[in-house]
Amino acid sequence: MDPMDIVGKSKEDASLPKATMTKIIKEMLPPDVRVARDAQDLLIECCVEFINLVSSESNEVCNREEKRTIAPEHVLKALEVLGFGEYIEEVYAAYEQHKHETMQDSLKGGKWSNGAEMTEEALLAEQQRMFAEARARMNGGAAVPKQTDVDSNVES
């Protein structure tokens, strides 16, 4: 084996991670079936070649549509042209699923986008409170006029 393969710096070297590929392969087969190492390597090479093929075709599709960026639609079209049309449905479903999941993540992370009205109200209330406290400090510590319902309790 060429030492360059291990270093992975040579231009020829982008390949797919063996562990992930092996898992995918093994899950397709009954548990007692073994896969010869040269067969595993060959399957990985075939996959890389598949990417090359579909990429080239996607590039063509993109060119024909006079677009500057290869988009998912171009890839789907390429799959169809190359005879992998039956993948399209599942691929598209996975793509949609991924978009959906990504959206969920950004919603969870962003407190602002979810329930924006509440946030504004809370901010407003906070602002009022801060003004009231500032006023109280100016008035030398007199009773702080906050929300009226609280006041009514205190006064009576």
Partner: protein, 118 residues
């Protein structure tokens, strides 16, 4: 005893769904960029589509290769099984050269001459 239904399900094309393994998007993007001389810019979403397509492709190729292994009544999937699967399936035509090419220099030349091309 294993249920026969499980495996016949796999062979008939029902994706016995593989776990949540995705292929690394950066790696896919790298391969895409090297696939040609003037590859256009690649949208961030394109590798995601590829990731799934590759998974399906490998599953199908594995399935077909395994069918060859079973024909030979073996339990180990060999390189030749992959080659047979490629030869038997039209859409795998693009792989014909890849599977028939020996990875190491062949030694069938008598006299042990090196197959170094100048």
């Amino acid at each position: 005893m294993r249920q026969p239904g499980m495996y016949s399900g796999m062979l008939s094309g029902i994706s016995g769904k593989t776990g949540p393994h995705s292929l690394p998007l950066a790696r896919i993007k790298k391969i895409m960029k090297k696939s040609g001389d003037d590859v256009k810019m690649i949208s961030g979403e394109a590798p995601i589509v590829f990731s799934k397509a590759c998974e399906l492709f490998i599953e199908e190729l594995t399935r077909q290769s395994w069918a060859m292994t079973m024909q030979g009544r073996r339990r180990t999937l060999h390189k030749d099984d992959v080659a047979s699967a490629v030869a038997a399936t039209d859409i795998f035509d693009f792989l014909v050269n890849l599977v028939s090419e020996p990875p190491n220099a062949d030694e069938d030349a008598p006299g042990g001459t090196n197959n170094i091309e100048h």
